[in-house]
Symmetry: C2
Subunit: 302 residues, 2 copies
């Protein structure tokens, strides 16, 4: 049986570390007050749940949190103005606009208006571009891909020289995970819905990352014995035995995969909790950069 990659516990450890570092920095620098903001447009229930999770986690870690709720009817221009205000507000170190957005708003314009220096989601083209570059000087890495690499590293799983397969090539998960694995010296194959011989390719993977959004799509007998499996998918399926009538499953059939893999991340409790932990980490990194800049400025004024 595969060992579980316990994202819940790993994320908790990281959040404890972050909290400790923030406490220490606050003691050392009276002006140090990391501050995260979220703009939420509309009242989608799932968005409200995610925003609340982020708020709770931020506050627990000692990060100030402000929520800017906007009506569904907000115009694109009004939203861009709110973004610019947060860009210009020196007390805010990072913010994000909770996705998805209503269809009358251009997502790309929103992403690209956020200052790359406060882009804690890591979705700005300049941050994605720097992520892809050899020396990887992105100010922020996108949270879910960063969390996946962290899961592997904290489980002592070697990435360099391994064959990895990533299924899914989205801008926010699959593609940046591919990039990070390649930059960590894995040999990586990127698969998607047009891939012809998927089970055969999956069989070559020492490390398999699945992020497609299809319940229990990858079967245990596709997987190379001893492979490491990270399941990003989060799919609700019917389950009459639950009070809610549904339960969460990943993109990998856990029952069969866990008998073949050496390590596997469960759903829920695998990648999910890491995303929030990485958002806190990005916010802390940003606050530290702003502190350093302020200190450099004061120093040069002396």
């Amino acid at each position: 049986m595969a060992k579980l990659i316990d994202g819940k516990t790993i994320a908790k450890d990281i959040r404890t570390q972050i909290k400790k570092e923030i406490e220490e920095l606050k003691q050392k620098y009276s002006t140090f007050k990391p501050h995260l903001s979220i703009i939420q447009v509309g009242e989608r229930e799932d968005s409200t749940v995610y925003v609340r999770q982020k708020e709770r986690a931020a506050k627990e870690a000692g990060i100030e949190f402000t929520l800017h709720k906007k009506a569904d009817s907000i115009t694109e221009n009004e939203l861009l103005t709110s973004i610019r205000e947060l860009n210009d507000n020196p007390s805010i170190h990072g913010f994000l606009v909770q996705l998805p957005l209503p269809s009358h708003i251009n997502k790309k314009k929103v992403t690209e208006t956020i200052s790359p220096k406060k882009d804690v989601d890591g979705f700005h083209a300049i941050n994605l571009g720097n992520l892809a570059k050899r020396d990887c000087e992105a100010l922020f890495l996108p949270c879910t891909p960063k969390g996946i690499i962290e899961l592997l590293k904290r489980s002592d799983i070697e990435i360099a020289r391994k064959n990895a397969v990533v299924i899914g090539r989205s801008d926010i998960v699959g593609f940046p995970v591919f990039t990070l694995l390649s930059r960590n010296d894995a040999t990586v194959t990127l698969c998607h819905s047009k891939t012809e011989n998927l089970p055969e390719i999956v069989k070559t993977a020492d490390i398999l990352i699945v992020a497609i959004g299809k319940a229990e799509f990858v079967k245990g007998d596709w997987i190379k014995p001893g492979a490491v499996v990270i399941d990003v998918g989060t799919n609700a399926i019917k389950d009459p035995s639950k009070q809610s009538g549904t339960r969460w499953v990943g993109d990998v059939e856990f029952s069969s995969a866990s008998t073949v893999a050496s390590y596997i991340s469960p759903v829920p409790g695998g990648v999910g909790p890491m995303t929030v932990a990485m958002l806190l980490q990005n916010t802390l990194e940003s606050a530290k950069r702003f502190l350093q800049e302020a200190r450099n400025r004061n120093f040069s004024l002396l």
Copy 2:
């Protein structure tokens, strides 16, 4: 025997098309004067050769060309100032700083100071970032990767649903070629110097792109019969039978590979000529965008 992918002829066709389009646009719009500039720092012989090639090709196509030669001793700040002047000069539609640069100059600062709107080399992080995004809205694609895709398309080689292997993951060739192949729906594996079982992986490729800079490294018996092989490498090796004492070879052993592949690009005369053709194409696209913007401005003034 493999069919030759004749980059020289394909590039010539493209340059003829570009020339024709420029002539037509000049006739239609008296203000249309596409203009390419290059900043060359120092006197490296290879750089002078490349710059001269670009100059000749630009002029032949009806693109104005200006060369800004700078001494090796130029400071980084002086170079950045020259770049900003070209950014601000409305008669210039595209420019590049010929690489490599002397070691006292930070390449990244140079690349990132060039306006993304004039970045005809396509090396600015924001252009690389947008290239990696699903909707690929990069203003410019880097010339060599763009030329490789063009070679495949003009040879009627299908990319979608094929297995592709790219060897080499540099910022200017390997990585963006990977990205473009993936965005064209190939399933792509990206290999590099830390890849363990390279011949075995190469064997899976319907399309193989090699960009490593190692003379005749990939052998014919690694290649899947019928595969398409694009050889980006440009390596000088000793050849006493030549007057110069050297000749150019690719990263693929042509003699053995050409008996197995269905298509192969030779060195020289394969990818090389495409790079310059794509530079002209990027310059033309940029000049057209500036023309369109000026027309929109005039229109909105009416």
